[in-house]
Every structure is written in structure tokens, then in C-alpha cells.
Subunit: 307 residues, 2 copies
Amino acid sequence: MTQGADPLVEGLTGGERLPLARLLTRIENGDPTVRSSLPALLAAGRGGHVVGVTGPPGSGKSTLVNALIGEWRRRGRRVGILAVDPSSPYTRGAILGDRIRMMEHAADRDVFMRSMASRGELGGIAVTTWLAAAALDVAGYDPILIETVGAGQSEVEIARLAETTVVVEAPEMGDEVQAIKAGLLEVADIVAVNKGDRPGADRTARQLRAMLSTAGGRVERSPPRVMVTTATTGEGVGPLADAIEAHREVARTAIAAGERARHQLHRAVSELAWRRAATRDDFSDIVEGVAGRTLDPLTGADRLLPE
Amino acid sequence: MTQGADPLVEGLTGGERLPLARLLTRIENGDPTVRSSLPALLAAGRGGHVVGVTGPPGSGKSTLVNALIGEWRRRGRRVGILAVDPSSPYTRGAILGDRIRMMEHAADRDVFMRSMASRGELGGIAVTTWLAAAALDVAGYDPILIETVGAGQSEVEIARLAETTVVVEAPEMGDEVQAIKAGLLEVADIVAVNKGDRPGADRTARQLRAMLSTAGGRVERSPPRVMVTTATTGEGVGPLADAIEAHREVARTAIAAGERARHQLHRAVSELAWRRAATRDDFSDIVEGVAGRTLDPLTGADRLLPE
């Protein structure tokens, strides 16, 4: 290993923003030359805490993220933020709004904020975000926040990448919404019921605690901690930052790290296998066979994969 | 090809329910011996229309499905229903409720209803459901409804499998919920705003039409049709059945069939590649390497895939 000699990694550890920004662009664009620097990047890791923050529009997530950044800055931490955009064309407005609010910290040299599109040519969005987080880690940011908008597939993907995942809810979003968000709650390590100054916040927190403590099939994890925050006044933000910090050790047990690694590998293997399949000479024939129902997808997949 | 001679397929075409039920159990359990019957199953296909119906709890989806079944029965159709359970432990209650309501048609020999768990050992839930739908097709059901609960990852997966996808909404579910459901709307061919007797139903339909017509990046598809239904009174159910029927031809263009085939193959290739990877001797070492950050997930995936 000659990791110190890798120019890409040296650029990051110098603390300058430009080399980091350039590397993130290369990662996002799927630049294949990034691959050769990965061993050096991993070796130079500083163990920054990767924290996912997710939750539906309307939960006040962006305001809470801003309040958390402020809290960590007061504690002397350098904060990295990756804002991952889901690919849906319908939610772009919401994301633009988030970006504008984020600019509150734009002048702070110790806050690095970057939006990532959810394509991820290097092996899916999970792998792209993983690489970007590794780059922020080498650049000395800790915590590294991964923020997503929405409550869909990509959000759960991203949440499973973070060491500690905070799901932001608002009070009284109704039973229907609770059920919709169940997928998100399953990946939560901490649930923040935000807008805590609204009526019903404590009741929502109690309901969530009851719901999360009785959910079956999760023997391997303790129920997520449910906290009430009011991002606009800062109420509860300090305790939330403490809870995130306290979860760092829990997230670093061998079992938890192994679970995350399996998930990463699953995503990367799936993407890589599909990309290779799509470059085969017989790919179009096999697609046509399945489309024309002369071939079933299982047999088609068998043909597309090398033995 | 000796498809007529395949005993599994012969059992289905005889019109008996028991051979079909047994085959679905084998498909659900991932019985590998099913594979050898797939060419015969495909060859015996009758071209039944595969219709996905999805939507969040609270939209009245189950009542609407019941009303649609009634409408199709009056039109002399034999209706197959696959109810796909998402894996979330949090939503089981809702699904049980759906099942109970479904029993309205339990005595009708020309309605075949089956719940499928979302594990799908034969290549993911998408492939399992595809195979089950193919079996219902050979058994002479048309349409074949694929019903899902919730608004998450598996619902979008399943929706992409159907030829025609109906997304059920309720009026006035609020802006927050609209954004959450954006992922579902992206896969909709028809949107049914159910509970049409509630105030605001027409306004919700207008809002959805405006939102769906201006959404960018979808040049390849026309905007989904938005209809208002009241499942409890039957209002709008006939026109909805007509709209579904009218979409059958649209869904069977070569482009649409090719898109579905690519999606199926993507899911099948991903699952198969991962399953093979997980049986390799070096699998645990590679997981440990990624968990311990001595290996990045891309390089790990490279090692797990044969050249």
C-alpha cells in the first residue's frame, strides 16, 4: 500500500474544498479512474460518523438538519452533508426549497454541503453515496450527514447505508401516512417527532413508541428511540445530537457493520451484474424473447449471467 | 416443444382450482422443479390482461377491487387476483382486513384469489409474481389483478410488472401525502380518485391531472388518465373497467412490452447474481473486508461476480 502517495487522497487530507468537490463530481459521474484510488481512500479513513436523516416532505426535516448543523458547529465539529435527490421528477420543487434553506450555512468553511443525483453509474446510488461519504470522511468531516427527501425506495436504500439513521416525522400526520411511512420506520435508529410545539406532538411520540416496541421480527435490533424536537426554536436539538452520538458505538458492532456491508455488496453485485448483462451480444434477443413470451425471465437471467 | 404433454400445464387448462393452487404454492416456495415446466406454461398462455392495482391504506382500494371484480363478473369474465403482501411487519393488520373483505367473492368459482408473500425465492418478488400471473393466465383468468398494499418499494416493483397499473387515491390526502406517493404516480397508467362522494374529490382529480400533465421526463408515455370513483356505491366503476380494458392495447406495443421485459430481467439477473455470490467460498471474507473497510463494495462485487 502506498496510500500516502495517492494524489487524490493527498488533495483531500490537505483540507481544501476544491479537490473534494472535484472528486465528488468524478464519483457522481461514474469516472472509472476513481477505482484505482479506492484502497488509498479507505486506508486514509478517519472514522467519521455517517448519519442518515430522512423523512417525508412537511416534517420539517430540512429545518431540523439546519438546527443539527448549528448544534454540531457549536460543539466544534466539521459537518459534511450529502443531500441525495430521489430520481422522481415530481419532487424536484421540494428539493430546490431544501437547497435554499441550506444556504444558511453556505459561508461556513467547516460545513461542506453537496447534492448528489440518484443515478450512480459506479454501482447504483448506494455505492455512489458510500464512496462520497468515504471522501468526506478522509477530508475530515464528522459527522457526515446523508439527507434524503421523500419516503420511497431510494430513501430506504440510503438509510441502510448510514451507520445511524434518523427518521423525521411531524405530529398528527394521520394513520394513513403512518402506514405509508412504515418502510422508513423499519430502518430508523432514532425517530424525531419534529414540530414539537404543535398540539399532538407528545401523543404522536407515544403512539410511535407503542407501535415500534410491539413490531415483531426485529429481535436483532432494539426499538428506535423516539424523541420530540422543535427545529424552529432549537428545543430538543441538543438531546437529539446526543442521541445520535450515543448511537455511534451501537452502529459499530461487528453485526451491524456486517449487515451494512452485505447490503452494500448486494446493491453493487446486482448493479454490476445487470450492467455486464446489458453489454452482451445476445442481450436484445433475450429481452425480445421475454417481451414476446417465448422465454421466461428466470431462464433469460440464467443466459445473461456467466457461470 | 411438447407443451401439451406437460402434466403441470394440463392440470391448469382443465379448469380445476386445486392444480392451480398447488402450482402457486410451488412457485411461492421457490420449488426448482417448476423451472422445467416454464416453456410449456408460456406456450399455453392465453393473453390474459395483467392489471396492477395499488394505493395507500385509506384510499378504499380493497373496496374498489371488490367493485371491479363484481363489474367484470357481470361482464362474464373470470377474475384472478394475486394479493401481494409487502414484507413490512407494520402493515400486516391492514392486509388481514383486506383479506376479510375479499371473502365477498369467496363462493364464486370464477373468482380465484390468492395471497403471495413477498419473498420469492425463484428470483425476487417480481419474478415470483410474474410466474404466478402466467399460471393464472393459463388457467383462463382474464383479467389477472395484482393487488398490493402500501406505497413503498415492493409496490413500485409490482406495478412495473403489470401491463396496466391503476393507482387508487383518496380525496384530500394533503400535499404531504401527495409527495410521498409520487413514486406510485410515476408508474400509474390510470389514477382512480376513490371516495368520490367526499367533498374535494373533483378538486383532487383536477390537481392530479395538472400535476401529472406537467411532469417532465416522461415523453415516452402519455399522462395517466385520472378518474373519480365511489366504490361503495359503484359510481364510476364501469367507466374504470372500460378504461382498464382500453389500455390493454396500449400496454401491448413492442416498446411497452420491451420495457417490462427489461425490468423483469433486471430483477431476475440481480437476484440470481446475488444468490450465486452468497454461496461462494470467499463470500464471508469479502463481507468482512467491506465491513472492516479494508475493501470497498465495488471491488468486493467484482470479486463476487464471475468474469
